[in-house]
Symmetry: C2
Subunit: 91 residues, 2 copies
């Protein structure tokens, strides 16, 4: 099993991402990085909090990083979008 | 001047919060904590990123904390809402 996995949070129901994270951690992955950008950032925080508070209290929040990515819009304009990465680590 | 200030991000235009943060930092406050909950979390990340990338490159992101608050809805139901706190520190 890989030592680290990434769950990229988008616009699907939030429990999909919670389940993906729990599956990784239960299968032996020690660290899951929950990533999101734009409006999905608040949902990534929800995923991390639900995993910890409701399902796996032995999981700790590690480093949290924020950043900015440049995306090109359909009109060719470059737009900046914020990003987040939340590490969830098995204690 | 206080050594630490809090900017609470809600649903006003994002530049209001950027300006509030810049004002604090320019007036001598060393640390501004940008806080938000729920859907405003992604906007708090935007505020931190815009302050750093566009206006004050000498400001660093310090500790980032996430958490959960219990709110009571109008129907008396308790709902969980995620929170974020992003420290911006003058280098």
């Amino acid at each position: 099993m890989a030592d680290e996995a990434v769950v990229f949070v988008g616009s699907k129901p939030i429990m999909n991402y919670v389940l993906a994270t729990l599956t990784q951690l239960n299968e032996g992955t020690n660290k899951v990085v929950v990533k999101a950008r734009g409006k999905a950032i608040s949902r990534a925080v929800d995923v991390a909090e639900i995993v910890r508070n409701r399902f796996m209290p032995n999981v700790e929040v590690g480093e949290i990083k924020i950043g900015t990515e440049e995306l090109e819009s359909e009109q060719g304009r470059v737009v900046n979008v914020s990003t987040i990465e939340i590490e969830l680590v098995k204690a």
